[in-house]
């Protein structure tokens, strides 16, 4: 396989050069022992884009060794916070420079509209890198008094070490930034396994890692099948920490593998079945906007998708009508079409999965009030779909669908709403819409979710932590909290005056 491939961008008539090898020690290399490749498909056309090298377990070994070597020599405790900050800022600048090209590649591989990829995914990613660049020289510990005469204790927040990072296909560039930025800011080195569905932008970003000036081995990128590369990282004795974003099913396997191997530290960002509660005092039009955003943004392929909406009885009919109109207004189409507000779902696997849930919804007796009909023609397009007359035991109400499929229910009292919302093993996000301040406070305190949005939904900021309660995850990303995931505390207890009598 040649080292670079030229990817055609039909809408612009131009090509984008994409490296196809594994990125280890700042070079793109073939697999050490395998001829396997990963073919990337354009979900809007179902056509192949290109193929890249598929990493094997042995390749993961090589990458981990490179990361360990860098940690011991040019990175980790050998590089100052100022230098880490400088490099992260440089990387952010380069991504900003190449935003248009990266957005087009992201749109080709993932399907999302180019303008959303550029202005939101990439814009936020640049912000994320800059935010963590700012933390890099501010990783402080504590100095602690024991007595003032003979002893001193202080803590150091040391880099946790070599980090395996496994990211999903729904926001390839942004998930890459959320993982890479805090890890590098804290002095860790990385072996990144992008999703086998969307490895292309991670490979392109690896070129910028070199251009920014990071030493070899600090960031390594090994596209691979989850069951091969992901499993290898989770079980690897040379990896000090694994960070995974993806399904709860896979998250369990990762944690098991970590427990069985070297008890590496684990952080998980898993699934959700996040509820939005619409109370009678809410601004109905606004609440409908946020509810639509919650289930339709990124074509519902969002871990915090507000996939269950519960509406207070007194406003149910009015709200439902408004919501249906809002959902109809979204244009789902090819990511290179200016009119598209959303793209196809990422793959045939996902497409089939979502349709089986839609069928289940119908079979289990829910009422389909919008969508539910397949589009003819090419592309994994799923139109906004809304089910009503739901019951708690239904598959569409319990399981994460990861598509633009919404279940709408109703409630009488605040207490009932809270119970319906919390009746899930997940706990990632929740939204509530109300103009009663007391209600907002009570309900936000009661909802069991890592992020509670009040009179809004889905919007995240680089400086606010994000993560799940219950089976939605372990640990937090973003904000200052992410630093805790990539540092390990050492207490140094220094005696400068106590003499020990022996034997005791």
């Amino acid at each position: 396989m040649s080292k670079f491939t030229q990817v055609n961008v039909p809408a612009t008539g131009k090509t984008i050069s994409v490296p196809t090898g594994l990125f280890i020690n700042n070079e793109f290399v073939p697999s050490v022992d395998s001829q396997e490749t990963i073919q990337c498909i354009n979900p809007a056309t179902e056509e192949p884009i290109c193929s890249v090298v598929a990493g094997s377990a042995k390749d993961v070994d090589v990458a981990v060794a490179a990361a360990r070597s860098a940690l011991k020599t040019t990175w980790g405790k050998n590089v100052s916070g100022f230098e880490r900050s400088r490099l992260l800022n440089k990387l952010a600048d380069l991504i900003e420079r190449d935003a248009q090209e990266l957005a087009e590649l992201e749109a080709l591989n993932n399907g999302k509209p180019v303008k959303i990829a550029r202005d939101f995914d990439i814009g936020d990613s640049v912000g994320c890198l800059r935010y963590y660049a700012g933390w890099a020289d501010k990783i402080v510990g504590q100095s602690i008094d024991i007595d003032n005469k003979t002893k001193l204790a202080f803590t150091k927040h040391e880099p946790i070490g070599v980090c395996g990072q496994i990211i999903p296909w729904n926001y390839p560039i942004m998930m890459w930034a959320w993982k890479v930025a805090p890890a590098l800011a804290c002095g860790c080195t990385i072996v990144m396994k992008p999703s086998e569905f969307t490895p292309l932008t991670a490979l392109k970003l690896s070129e910028l890692v070199v251009e920014a000036g990071f030493p070899p081995g600090v960031v390594n990128t090994v596209p691979a099948l989850g069951s091969v590369g992901g499993a290898a990282l989770a079980a690897h004795p040379g990896v000090d920490k694994i960070a995974f974003t993806g399904s709860t099913v896979t998250g369990r396997k990762i944690m098991e593998a970590a427990a069985k191997s070297n008890l590496k530290k684990v952080s998980l960002e898993l699934g959700g079945k996040s509820p939005q509660l619409i109370f009678e005092s809410a601004d109905i039009d606004q609440a409908a906007n946020w509810a639509a955003l919650g289930i339709l943004y990124n074509t519902g392929q969002d871990c915090t998708a507000g996939s269950r909406v519960y509406v207070q009885d007194s406003i149910y009919d009015k709200f439902l009508q408004t919501l249906i109109e809002k959902a109809k207004a979204l244009n789902i189409g090819n990511g290179f079409d200016e009119k598209s507000g959303g793209g196809p779902v990422v793959s045939k696997v996902q497409y089939d999965k979502i349709w089986s849930y839609i069928d289940a919804g119908k079979q289990e007796g829910a009422k389909c009030v919008l969508g539910g009909e397949k589009r003819p023609g090419k592309g994994y397009f799923v139109d906004p779909t809304i089910f009503t007359e739901i019951k708690p035991g239904m598959k569409i109400v319990k399981d994460e669908i990861f598509g633009p499929v919404l279940s709408v229910g109703r409630f009488k009292t605040e207490e009932e709403a809270i119970n319906l919302a919390n009746d899930t093993t997940y706990g990632l996000g929740a939204g509530l819409h109300s103009n009663d301040a007391g209600q907002c406070m009570r309900v936000s305190q009661a909802l069991e979710a890592g992020t509670v949005w009040v009179n809004q939904y889905n919007l995240l900021y680089n400086n606010v932590p994000f993560g799940g309660k219950k089976q939605s995850g372990i640990g937090r990303e973003l904000g200052s909290y992410a630093l805790d995931e990539y540092t390990s505390v050492k207490a140094i207890q220094w005696n400068y005056g106590e003499k020990l009598d022996w034997p005791l």
């Binding site: 900050s85 400088r86 935010y131 660049a133 700012g134 890099a136 501010k138 220094w494 400068y496």
Partner: protein, 498 residues
């Protein structure tokens, strides 16, 4: 219209042009002072005029404060998200880096420090500081605090508003960055008065700040005298905080003025007479190098200079010999000559002051072990100077000289040297040299100073707080520019009178 200063550098260390306005920088524009008067800026290496700059008046301070207030309420403060403030600050740092040599040359020309040190210490430190604080801008966090079930209580760390900043002439650009860094990061708008002796690098920086895109009024520079512009800032009813670096004498006046007017917050970075204790188990060669750096760097014009050097009797003779050799190696001369290690003192007034301390040392009976004389007959150059055979009550031992004059004192009692070291109204910094870590840490903990250096001296980092104990100051640089507000939201607690 204020005139433009245009200067062609043609020196062994630097060649190039610099050009910037000599006006006051108010509301994003360079303007004349309200009385159209000027201040002469002198080259301390030659005693000759470099240029004239606009002189500000209390009226100009009013104009600047009004511009700052407007900016704070509309385009800055809490109206401008931290990430956006960070972007602008990083842009300024980038521009300063692009113009690094030019800024270093202007600084060396105006202050007299060597081009080498201006570039490698002052510029590097200033740029790092701006970048460090840019990183804080979107991380100003409060707390949520549990009280009871019916309430939400949280704190916000809000910007103060308009802050006044008065900076000295010893590290003009570095001091400017230490002041504007934390103030801008936390969302405050600034009225800054550079020293009338060294206004040039601030004006060039204002030009770069404009280019970086800071909204007009966020950063204002009002050149002028301490007694007029400085006092106006300290007394201003609409300035929420004054941050001053300079002499203890002036620091008192600033604090008084603040108390008498609107009780504005005050932080002061004042003088020092910092002790450097060298134990008999020190790495002698290293201690000699650091001790020389501690007192001779920046022509001795450093608030944290290790100006009282206590040396254990066992190594005293050897130390003094090596230290004197080091002092001899300091080549005093043209700041732009690559061989120069020390430039002139900043002004005629400082020159006279230092020479009069040297005279008082002689008069009071101390020994001039080395130096004690002017160098050359042009400009304000003084030789590195070492005094020995001193008594604790001598002026050269008690008072801050602010020149390349070190006092070397012999000791043999650990407890007593700590007592002597602490026997001063100052408490800015200290150094301890010993290879025995127990002795070094114990001593460092017992010395009353805001910064304790173990086996080094004068090392500063943007991320490490700096400030004085006792009469060396109030507050910490790299410090507090926010006002904490506690917000209590009652959402369920019913109040009944019964």
């Amino acid at each position: 219209m204020p005139s433009t200063f245009s200067y062609q550098f043609d020196t062994p260390s630097h060649k190039g042009i610099t050009e910037f306005s000599t006006g006051l920088f108010i509301n994003g524009e360079f303007v004349d002072g309200s009385e159209n008067s000027t201040i002469d800026v002198i080259n301390p290496a030659t005693g000759k005029l470099i240029t004239k700059i606009s002189q500000g008046t209390p009226k100009d301070v009013d104009r600047a404060v009004a511009a700052a207030q407007h900016a704070f309420e509309t385009s800055w403060g809490l109206k401008c998200p931290g990430a956006e403030r960070a972007k602008l600050m990083n842009k300024l740092a980038d521009l300063m880096e692009e113009h690094e040599d030019e800024l270093a040359a202007v600084e060396a020309l105006d202050n007299g420090k060597t081009f080498y040190w201006a570039k490698n210490a002052d510029l590097k430190g200033a740029i790092d500081c701006i970048r460090y604080y840019a990183g804080w801008a979107d991380k100003i966090q409060g707390k949520t605090i549990e009280t009871n079930d019916g309430k939400l209580v949280y704190t916000r760390h809000e910007p103060l508003g308009v802050v006044g900043q008065i900076i000295p002439w010893n590290f003009p650009l570095l001091m400017l960055s230490w002041k504007i860094g934390p103030a801008l990061a936390t969302g405050n708008a600034i009225v800054l008065k550079p020293s009338e002796f060294t206004p040039l690098s601030a004006l060039l920086t204002a030009k770069l700040a404009k280019e970086a895109g800071f909204p007009p009024g966020v950063f204002n520079v009002v050149n002028g005298y301490g007694a007029t512009v400085g006092a106006a800032i300290a007394e201003h009813m609409d300035i929420e905080k004054v941050a001053f670096t300079g002499s203890t004498l002036v620091g008192r006046k600033i604090m008084e003025a603040a108390a008498k007017t609107n009780l504005k917050k005050v932080t002061l970075e004042l003088g020092g007479k910092s002790p450097n204790i060298i134990f008999d188990d020190a790495d002698l060669e290293a201690a000699v190098n650091w001790a020389a750096f501690g007192i001779f760097w920046n022509q001795g014009q450093t608030c944290c200079a290790g100006s009282r050097i206590f040396v254990h009797a066992k190594i005293y003779d050897e130390f003094l010999h090596l230290f004197t050799e080091k002092a001899k190696q300091v080549k005093v001369g043209d700041p732009f000559h690559p061989d120069s290690k020390q430039g002139p003192q900043v002004s005629n007034a400082q020159f006279d002051r230092i020479m009069s301390y040297i005279d008082s040392g002689k008069d009071e009976g101390a020994t001039v072990h080395h130096g004690g004389v002017r160098v050359g007959d042009e400009g304000y150059f003084i030789s590195p100077t070492i005094f020995t055979d001193t008594r604790p009550d001598m002026k050269i031992v008690k008072e801050e000289i602010f020149g390349p004059v070190g006092v070397v004192i012999k000791f043999d009692d650990d407890e007593d040297v700590i007592r002597q070291a602490n026997d001063t109204v100052y408490g800015l910094a200290c150094s301890v040299f010993s290879q025995n870590i127990n002795r070094a840490l114990e001593t460092a903990h017992k010395l009353k100073a805001g910064t304790a250096w173990v086996n080094c001296a004068n090392m500063l980092h943007a991320s490490v707080p700096f400030g004085g104990f006792k009469q060396s100051g109030i507050g910490r640089e790299l410090g507090d520019y926010t006002a904490v507000k506690a917000v209590h939201v009652n959402f369920g607690h019913q109040w009944s009178v019964a």
